[in-house]
Symmetry: C2
Subunit: 547 residues, 2 copies
């Protein structure tokens, strides 16, 4: 039996578009005995509160029936979508896979384990099934699982989030292979864990696994594909490409020794994050209905890296770099920004903000009545720049990319409505030290993209004379270490002290993180690449007191 894994890039809510994607891939897989999409593929994952619009779910079923009709001449296909719960109690929907066969929607298979943590909200919409969902196809019994259903094996977790293990139940009910429709978002290094887990499960239960993942960016989430197949000995038998659409067909009767079916997965930590950022940026811009972007170029490392991502995602002709020097901008910064633009082959525009700054100063002279300059005047500059960038965005229909990194966003070293302005925060989940690593990796790939000077000068916001980031922040190596432990690994103050971090520094950093909550609440969506990003997986109160 041949199983086709349709690794597609659906757009959330685009039912006809997603249906067409599925139909086209199913036709390309025409020789297979069963084709399988990723989770909720017809709707695009995550559809979020579109699921609460009853007519969205209704229409998806009309589209599904049309799709079944269109594909009546093909072998059966499993398509992910939400299904109304007809029961008299429970959540309104199931997270289902519909079996299309001979022109009809024959039946559905439902998800058991519903992730409700980090960026996931599935208990908000879905009722779990307690059934073991088996599909008899010819003489083969397939166990149908959806994403999280395979992520609760006792061997994999010190503490399991759920009380049942659908994989074990499927096998005990007679499944001879496990199909899994997934929408598993990218985080750096996750594929290793996925494959180790799939391999372990296949070996433990002595059944092959067919894991189909979504690919593409949807708002803050990037799905990296890399769908894969393991034989019943836990050996990798096939793998789809990362970060692009792909189609693999695997023959259950002959799963081993097919190196040609295994797409390379030789990403470095840098190249993997780079691909995620490029895909996430491209899809955000395109799925919002745009093709061009702009961003402010300061001559610093962050905007340089974001410009390079944008060029890779959209092409140099679709990226506009805007220089907005003030009296505090050094000639070196302008030179570095222009060199970067030259290296990338993008257009630039220079708008000097000095006159506008002066007009603000004049208007505020009276209320500020000679008070000393402080962060207020720095923020005014950042907001003038935000206003200019948004004006260009509005006038010419370009998406503004915001360029702040995770370290800055964590401690609030950024101006709300200023440099935080934009439709997408490309690197807001990339810590500053990783920004440097990515820039160096990028340059090492071939010719110099990020000017060498940018890599070696001290980071500065240039909002006053002789300012550097390190005036008010710990060294980035230390800061990023503390932040990662606190944000991603949930370490407490006491644990940080025990690691040898200086007490006052830890307390200051955590206090800054808390104080910046009101800014982050209004931040642009940012591409998630770590285990815990600010955004939909970080839900902190604003008006609260530290304990």
């Amino acid at each position: 039996m041949k199983i086709a894994l349709l690794q597609l890039n659906p757009t959330v809510g685009d039912l006809p578009g997603n249906s067409a994607l599925i139909a086209s891939a199913a036709r390309r897989a025409a020789g297979a005995d069963l084709a399988v999409t990723s989770e909720l593929a017809l709707m695009g994952y995550p559809p979020r509160d579109l699921l609460l619009n009853a007519d969205f779910v209704e229409r998806s079923w009309l589209v599904l029936r049309d799709l079944a009709h269109d594909l009546a001449d093909l072998s059966p296909i499993l398509v992910g979508l939400a299904e109304p719960n007809p029961g008299e109690a429970g959540r309104p929907l199931f997270n289902s896979a519909a079996l299309l066969r001979e022109g009809k929607v024959e039946r559905t298979f439902k998800k058991t384990l519903l992730p409700t943590y980090d960026v996931f909200d599935e208990d908000r919409y879905f009722e779990p099934t307690a059934e073991s969902e088996l599909l008899e196809l010819g003489t083969t019994v397939l166990g149908i699982s959806i994403c999280e259903d395979i992520w609760n094996d006792r061997d994999q977790w010190l503490h399991r989030r759920y009380h049942t293990n659908p994989v074990q139940e499927l096998v005990e009910a007679g499944a001879k292979a496990i199909i899994n429709l997934s929408a598993s978002p990218f985080t750096a290094g996750k594929q290793k864990h996925r494959e180790a887990m799939l391999s372990h499960l296949a070996k433990k239960y002595r059944v092959p696994f067919f894991y189909v993942n979504q690919v593409g960016g949807n708002d803050d989430l990037v799905f990296d594909g890399r769908s894969s197949v393991f034989d019943g000995n836990g050996r990798l038998a096939a793998r789809a490409r990362g970060f692009e659409e792909d189609l693999i067909v695997a023959d259950m009767a002959n799963l081993v020794d097919r190196a040609a079916a295994i797409a390379k997965d030789d990403f470095t930590p840098e190249s993997e994050i780079w691909r995620a950022l490029v895909l996430g940026t491209r899809d955000y811009v395109h799925k919002c209905g745009f093709s061009e972007v702009l961003l402010g170029l300061s001559g610093g490392i962050d905007s340089s890296l974001v410009a390079a991502v944008a060029v890779s995602a959209l092409g140099p002709q679709n990226v506009l770099g805007v220089l907005m020097p003030s009296p505090y901008t050094s000639p070196q910064s302008v030179q570095d920004a222009m060199a970067l633009a030259h290296n990338l082959g993008i257009k630039t525009l220079t708008l000097n903000i000095t006159d506008i700054m002066n007009s603000f100063d004049r208007e505020l002279a009276k209320p500020f009545r000679g008070l000393p300059k402080d962060v207020t005047e720095e923020n005014i500059q950042a907001r003038i720049r935000g206003n200019l960038l948004m004006a260009l965005s509005n006038k010419f229909g370009l998406v503004l990319l915001t360029t702040g990194n995770k370290s800055e966003l964590a401690v609030g070293y950024c101006t709300i409505y200023g440099d935080m302005s934009g439709g997408l925060a490309v690197i807001s989940d990339v810590p500053k030290t990783a920004v440097y690593r990515l820039a160096k990796w990028l340059n090492a790939r071939g010719s110099e993209i990020i000017p060498d000077a940018v890599l070696h000068k001290a980071p500065t916001a240039e909002l006053r004379f002789h300012q550097t980031d390190q005036d008010s922040l710990p060294p980035y190596e230390v800061l990023d270490d503390i932040l990662e432990r606190y944000i991603e690994r949930h370490q407490s103050k006491e644990e940080l002290f025990a690691q040898g971090f200086e007490k006052t520094m830890v307390e200051r950093v955590l206090c800054l993180v808390k104080s910046a909550e009101f800014k982050r609440r209004q931040a642009a969506p940012g591409l998630k690449v770590t285990d815990r990003a600010f955004g939909s997986g970080w839900r902190m109160p604003v008006a609260s007191r530290a304990w």
Copy 2:
């Protein structure tokens, strides 16, 4: 047996402060046989992802033990907080009520039904209990329930969200009264439903109910208190005040005929929303550690109402009104804004933005190369005003209140980083037609607050000459009707057509709602007063396609 209901206003995360509140109220209730707080009272509801910081939960238990020790001389007290789940599987915590008795934390009672819809995310944190949680106190058996536990009775819902009914199970297990620790956020008109439900349950199961609600604002949520007691015949026996802290003690042996124990609940639709906005604004500002606010005064109805709310919340001496006229601002608008400020007794500051506008125009002349003026130039003005307001906020430590209403936010009739700037969106869940009703109600209370001219002129953003809102929007009566049906009642396009709304108008409005998603993603927290507010209960994708 006398039961004391401690209706308190905790601050999220403020463990020592909340503990002190509880201790003080418990001492005032010293004659009671049992004192009861609201849900998670020690932590403040909703603690959100603070719950994922293990040391927050640990510290709350240290504080709880201290509290038990401090109150060792009093009768038992039930205190709400989160409790680690020691099981080898399941969510990390329970949503519990801890019984403090004789200086010790004696035991806990756990929540069964975990709301995960609208603004609620409890499945993210909590494991449900399947136990019926009974407390034997002297000769009386009390059924202990937490908030949602009492909201799933078959008689109350066409479709129940959960499969069990803890109230019924508690009664069947022997409970002679039901205690309920709640944190039930305000929405307009909700108290009627709560009391009808409590009355029905009390009568149906023939047991008295003791319902303790939280009071106070926490970010977008306002808790309205109005804790209440029903006897076993379903008659209201006691009610705490709305929108303020209160303490009621009810004697189970003598629950009827105590009119003096029933706080008036004679709110009109307008006065109820007003109280919620005032409380929400006051608590947001204070719980963020501020005492003063500023806002832009345009002479329009929205900023006038928000100024009035701010004055009621914080006192006129703590409110600064900023006028920022441009060449498009009519003398009437300035006059109306000044009249409002006079009526409210607040300070004003006038900053003319014409020179700053001109400096932007000069700098953008070249890139804009003679293109016609459009919404770009309007947004520039709004963002200049946002920048000035934030500059004053930064320099003087004032919280900026943003003044947009729900109708505008729904259709995107507002400028991101412009008039949307601010720490709190006071009326972002109040539709425009309700803004008028509130303003008229306010004036009818006594002397004129909102100048009569403001109530009667056509609404305008004054971002170009001869502009009125109705140039680009349907009449607000129609718009608000469509929006309420779509947003709060989840009606589909087809249902709206069937109601007689013009097809092109409905499609245009829903298209505007979708297009404004990127703005709302970056909106300030707004006080929820309707069944569905934008914010934590509205989770829509940005990069999606309409279906």
